[in-house]
């Protein structure tokens, strides 16, 4: 909560002014009935007509003043909570951009999305409602208490005790409410996840005719969310009646204590009556507070979830580089495991010179993608050394890594934006560069055929393109900034052989001097590599050139024969 409250600090002057204005409005509104009483009790019996008009005019003025102050204060409160939430949401988004892949896996994308949206909304509500409604009620309570102390100190002690008990009760209820709201927000995460999955997988769901099952799955998640909200709400619903009852209990105690005092001649019974009317004032004030406490406990639960992300430690420190491990890129005895059970990459060692091409081949799940995840420092190796540009990757900051790589990831989604923006990808590249990259990626022909060319807009996830077209746009994106190192992870899986061959030839022609890492299931795409790694169960089973591997590696030879019909 401390971090979130910090967002209030820059707005402290504004909040102070807003509170004062709101306070003024409340005072004006409380004075109105006094003037009213003045007209009825003093002016009317005295037949003082000018006095009636004077008081009436003053009432009009005060009504106007109260409205003006209230509007101003509401607007100030709205501005402050809007601006705080804006800043908070921005910082949260920024923090999620900097989360490591491992942290992101742990939080899960759907939970991050729901924190960015639902939780920031709850925090917004909390700040807004407290600023707007949190002034009048405490003011009335404190004012009422003060007044009663003047009236009858012994009775006021009773009241003080009751008020303390009430606040203690509210505190207890709120403390119970917060964890329940946390659970309710977690239930929302599941709802968000199912919605995401269904939007992305609509074709599969429909093709398998599983809409019914998805509906059931969603209904269950929605029900869980409903139940969690109910559990939290029912706890919070107790706050109001409980405090109401306690205060009323106080009322009864005041009457009893008053009776005793009157009996001993230490008080006049009129005082009890006056006391009771103040008491009612306090009571009406506390009632409005209950709604605030619901917003508060919901807001606190959400604020904690946001803080969890904001305060997540930077888990990939930039370390001081050790000895220069080798040439352009490579690994020395590097191991990594996603789940910490089986090694996804086990003792990998290889090295590559600048401008050379590395081919990576291996069965599904043998650790090919893990290999490049480590090179890109998406994850840190559990042991061993990974280096890029002759430096240990753990000594490279994000800025050092920036612009060094062009990568085609598997499963990467295109943006709901223009073709140009999908290739330029926020880097503000020139249209010439983008066009050139598209040509090399064998994408230009189909881009040119689009009615708006580079400015044609893609549907969500690029759904209005074929799989191969999407893949080529991603390749163009990787090439567009002329990176020193180009990584193609199964970048040709959706391409026909002719296009794939043209692509590889074009890359060689248009990107002289580029260090290339090619992961492919196709021997044809790898055969010209300077070094080919054959991965098996996370271990580099063999490495060498195409010719060498044909001689030494049975698996490689089998693959080549299978694919190329024995032509080698």
């Amino acid at each position: 909560m401390k971090t979130i409250l910090g967002y209030l600090r820059p707005h402290a002057p504004r909040v102070a002014v807003g509170v004062t204005v709101k306070f003024t409005a409340a005072v004006l509104e409380l004075l109105l009935p006094l003037l009213l009483a003045h007209i009825i009790d003093d002016c009317v019996p005295a037949r003082d007509l000018p006095g009636v008009f004077r008081a009436g005019g003053l009432m009009l003025l005060m009504a106007f003043g109260a409205a003006f102050c209230n509007i101003t204060a509401n607007r100030m409160a709205a501005w402050v909570s809007m601006d705080m939430t804006r800043q908070l949401r921005r910082d949260l988004y920024q923090r999620t951009l900097l989360l490591s892949q491992a942290q992101l896996d742990r939080f899960s994308v759907s939970s991050i999305v729901s924190r960015l949206t639902n939780d920031t909304y709850n925090v917004h509500q909390m700040f807004d409602k407290i600023q707007r409604g949190g002034i009048r009620a405490p003011m009335l309570v404190l004012g009422g208490l003060a007044l009663t102390f003047f009236q009858a100190p012994p009775l006021a002690l009773v009241q003080l005790g009751v008020c303390s008990a009430t606040f203690f009760a509210i505190w207890l209820v709120t403390r119970r409410g917060i964890p329940r709201y946390t659970r309710a927000q977690e239930a929302v995460d599941t709802v968000v996840r199912i919605l995401q999955e269904n939007a992305a997988g609509v074709r599969v769901v429909k093709a398998l005719v599983c809409q019914g099952r998805e509906r059931d799955r969603f209904a269950a998640a929605s029900r869980a969310s409903k139940e969690a909200e109910e559990a939290a709400g029912c706890v919070m619903a107790a706050a109001n009646p409980l405090s109401d009852f306690l205060l009323n209990l106080g009322l009864v105690l005041v009457v009893l204590a008053g009776a005793a005092l009157v009996d001993r001649g230490r008080m006049a019974s009129g005082q009890i009556v006056a006391f009771l009317s103040y008491f009612t004032l306090i009571q009406t004030a506390t009632l409005g507070l209950a709604k605030l406490f619901v917003k508060y406990s919901k807001g606190v639960a959400s604020a904690r979830r946001i803080e969890e992300v904001l305060l997540a430690p930077e888990d990939q420190q930039v370390r001081v580089p050790g000895e220069a491990p080798g040439p352009e890129l490579g690994m020395e005895n590097a191991s990594f495991s996603y789940l910490g059970v089986e090694k996804d990459l086990d003792g990998a060692s290889f090295s590559l010179n600048k401008g050379e091409t590395l081919g990576v081949l291996g069965p599904t799940g043998s650790g090919k993608t893990t290999l490049i995840s480590l090179l890109l420092r998406l994850y840190d190796a559990d042991s061993g050394v990974v280096w890029v540009g002759s430096r240990d990757v753990s000594a490279l900051s994000r800025e050092d890594l920036r612009g060094r790589f062009g990568v085609v990831f598997q499963n990467e989604a295109l943006l709901n934006d223009s073709v140009y923006e999908n290739i330029s990808f926020l880097r503000g590249l020139s249209r010439e560069d983008v066009t050139a990259a598209a040509r090399t990626a064998q994408a230009w022909a189909f881009i040119e055929a689009l009615p708006e060319g580079l400015d044609a807009r893609l549907d969500i996830r690029g759904a209005n393109l074929s799989g191969g077209q999407r893949q080529r746009l991603l390749i163009a994106r990787a090439l567009a900034a002329r990176p020193g190192i180009l990584i193609l992870d199964s970048a040709d899986s959706a391409l026909d052989y002719r296009t794939a061959a043209a692509l590889h030839a074009a890359v060689r022609r248009d990107c002289p001097g580029v260090t290339l890492v090619v992961i492919s299931e196709r021997v044809a795409s790898l055969r010209d590599a300077d070094r080919i790694l054959v991965l098996e169960d996370g271990v580099i089973a063999a490495q060498g050139t195409h010719g060498e591997l044909l001689e030494t590696c049975g698996r490689y030879r089998r693959m080549a024969e299978l694919q190329m019909g024995g032509l080698t």
């Binding site: 409005a25 007209i39 009317v44 005060m62 009504a63 209230n70 509401n74 607007r75 809007m82 921005r90 988004y93 994308v109 999305v113 949206t117 909304y121 919605l195 999955e197 939007a199 074709r203 429909k206 099952r213 409903k226 909200e229 029912c234 619903a237 109001n240 009646p241 009852f245 009323n248 009457v255 008053g258 009157v262 009996d263 001993r264 019974s269 709604k291 619901v294 996603y338 789940l339 059970v341 089986e342 069965p363 599904t364 994000r398 943006l415 549907d459 969500i460 759904a463 209005n464 074929s466 799989g467 077209q469 199964s490 391409l495 002719r498 296009t499 196709r522 089998r558 694919q563 032509l567």
Partner: protein, 576 residues
């Protein structure tokens, strides 16, 4: 506008009409009880008397006990009402969410190509939540206010009909003022919900390309784009808040004015002899009773506006046109032989740019047909048409001689087993994912399918095995494809469609699963899209797509001999 939202929302509220009514009655009872208590406290004070030593303690105690009883009961009722109302509101929200999702699952696939899922999430989570807040708390407050105001107004009318005329001026005035403001405010609240949806859509999309953002080091640029949307959404939020900030206070203002008028006119009336002092002071007292609840209700107006705008967005989703329902007399599909014909089919996602032009092909029952061709030639489109995701603009597709449209859509889809290019797994366990199309499959069958798809060994290596809950990371695209194949192996469909089913699977594994695929193909029509010509070579018939039409058809040998597009594609495989 608000009226229509309420009417449209009506069908979700109606089932709980009785509940709402009951709660209203309980609410009334609770209010009456809390009104009775002051009566008792008055009696208690009377029992205290004014003399020292003369206090009627039994009387005091009796009345105090009565007060305590009243308060306890009233608090109990109040808890009952608010917790019940909360449950009812949650039930309505649940129904709304469910209805929205049900409609979402009936929407045609292209809806999801043009509507960001973040916006959908925003509608189903945030917007429903906003409606829920109104139902669960604001309604309660509104109900209490209406009771108090109505009751007090009745008393006023009895006390002095002439003085009540003041309200004939001020009540319509505040109604007009509110109406006028609401008209102006409503579009702002609509904009606010929409902007928030757009922001969520953006955030959701960007979470999907985090790796690229990181690799290209464009965090700052991405944050700038987020800022733009965040600023716009915050601005819209504030604009709505700012405009509605006057709503409560202005109603309150009119109320205060009427209080002033009442006291001034009342004083005049009294001085003119038209009213007794007692009546005047009661009248004023009751008019004061107005102001509290009116203030509370006026402050709710802005929130009601927000929920009206939110409800609209949910209802708009419910009004989206679903996939056309099966016509009456649609053929239930129990079994297909699998004789597929494309007859002069023309189709384009954008009709002006057809992807398929006058495409004609015949795939006999039980045969293995392969579709090859350059990317973007329309191969996946063929599958989409077969699955009736889209309808061709002209031409017909028949299965077993019957046009596709004549079948029940779900019945037809059930008879087709497929592995799509875009693999999709949901966040359940591996076993659940494999059994996705066949929920009744036993664990043994699941394992057998996984073994046949050569993914059993990987699954066994995981700490939780088949009960591992899948997440995005830690599983490669090739493994996802193998899981999708295992899923396909468990279905008993008549036509098998494999769209680049093994594009990310290594050749050796592909060779190993070919046996399982062979068995899958047995007695079924099989429709394979692949780039790897080794996969395609054994097909009974190869359709070569180029430029939207069938360029060539024939067996591997025939096509090689013809020396056309296929021969070129084939040769490309061996070029370096």
């Amino acid at each position: 506008m608000k009226q229509t939202v309420l009417v449209r929302l009506g069908r979700f509220l109606r089932p709980y009409g009785f509940q709402f009514l009951l709660l209203l009655v309980l609410l009334l009872a609770g209010n009456l009880l809390s009104l009775a208590a002051p009566l008792l406290s008055g009696r208690a004070v009377d029992a205290v008397g004014i003399r020292a030593g003369g206090v009627d303690f039994p009387g005091v105690l009796r009345n105090c006990a009565g007060m305590l009883g009243c308060y306890a009961l009233s608090s109990l009722l109040s808890y009952l009402v608010s917790s019940r109302l909360l449950r009812t509101a949650q039930a309505v929200s649940h129904d709304l969410r469910k209805a929205a999702f049900d409609r979402m699952s009936e929407l045609p696939v292209d809806y999801f190509d043009t509507h960001p899922s973040g916006d959908l999430i925003s509608r189903i989570c945030y917007d429903v939540d906003t409606v829920n807040a109104t139902l669960s708390t604001d309604l309660l407050q509104l109900g209490t206010s209406v009771f108090t105001v109505a009751g007090s107004f009745l008393m006023l009318l009895l006390l002095s009909p002439r003085l009540t005329l003041v309200f004939l001026v001020t009540v319509p005035l505040s109604a007009a003022l509110t109406r006028f403001q609401m008209k102006r405010i409503h579009p702002l609240f609509r904009l606010r919900s929409r902007e928030l949806g757009a922001l969520n859509g953006f955030a959701e999309e960007r979470m999907g390309c985090r790796r690229s953002i990181r690799t290209y080091g464009v965090e700052k640029e991405d944050l700038n784009l987020f800022d733009q949307r965040n600023d716009a959404a915050s601005r819209a939020y504030y604009d709505a808040d700012r405009a509605s900030a006057a709503l409560g206070p202005s109603v309150n203002f009119v109320n205060n004015i009427s209080l002033t008028f009442v006291s001034v006119f009342g004083a005049l009336l009294y001085l003119g002899g038209g009213l007794s002092l007692g009546s005047l002071s009661s009248f004023v007292l009751y008019s004061r009773k107005f102001s509290g609840p009116i203030r509370e209700a006026a402050n709710l107006l802005a929130e009601l506006q927000a929920s009206a705008a939110a409800a609209e967005r949910v209802l708009d989703l419910l009004d989206q046109e679903p996939e056309a329902a099966d016509p009456a007399g649609a053929l239930p599909v129990e079994h297909l032989r699998g004789d597929i014909r494309f007859d002069h089919v023309t189709f384009g996602y954008d009709p002006a740019r057809p992807v398929l032009r006058d495409f004609t092909a015949h795939i006999p029952a039980g045969s293995l047909a392969a579709v090859v061709g350059p990317t973007g030639a329309g191969k996946t489109t063929l599958v989409s048409l077969l699955l009736r995701f889209y309808r061709p603009q002209s031409g017909t597709i028949t299965v077993d001689g019957v046009p596709l449209d004549a079948y029940s859509r779900d019945g037809l889809r059930r008879r087709l087993a497929l592995v799509l290019q875009d693999t999709w797994l949901f966040g359940g366990t591996i076993a659940e994912n494999i059994a996705y199309g066949a929920p009744e499959a036993s664990r043994e069958q699941i394992i057998e399918a996984a073994k046949a798809a050569r993914i059993h060994r990987f699954i066994s290596s995981l700490p939780q095995g088949y009960d591992t809950v899948l997440t995005d990371e830690g599983i490669s695209k090739g493994q996802k494809q193998l899981l999708a194949i295992a899923r396909c192996l468990l279905t008993d469909a008549d036509v098998v469609i494999l769209d680049e089913a093994t594009s990310n699977v290594d050749t050796e594994t592909e060779g190993e699963i070919s046996l399982a695929m062979e068995r899958l193909r047995q007695g079924r029509t099989c429709f394979v899209i692949a780039h790897r010509l080794a996969t395609v070579r054994g097909a009974d018939r190869i359709l070569v797509l180029d430029q939207g039409g069938a360029a060539e058809q024939g067996t591997h040998g025939e096509l090689l001999a013809a020396g056309g597009v296929y021969a070129q594609l084939y040769a490309a495989q061996f070029q370096s």
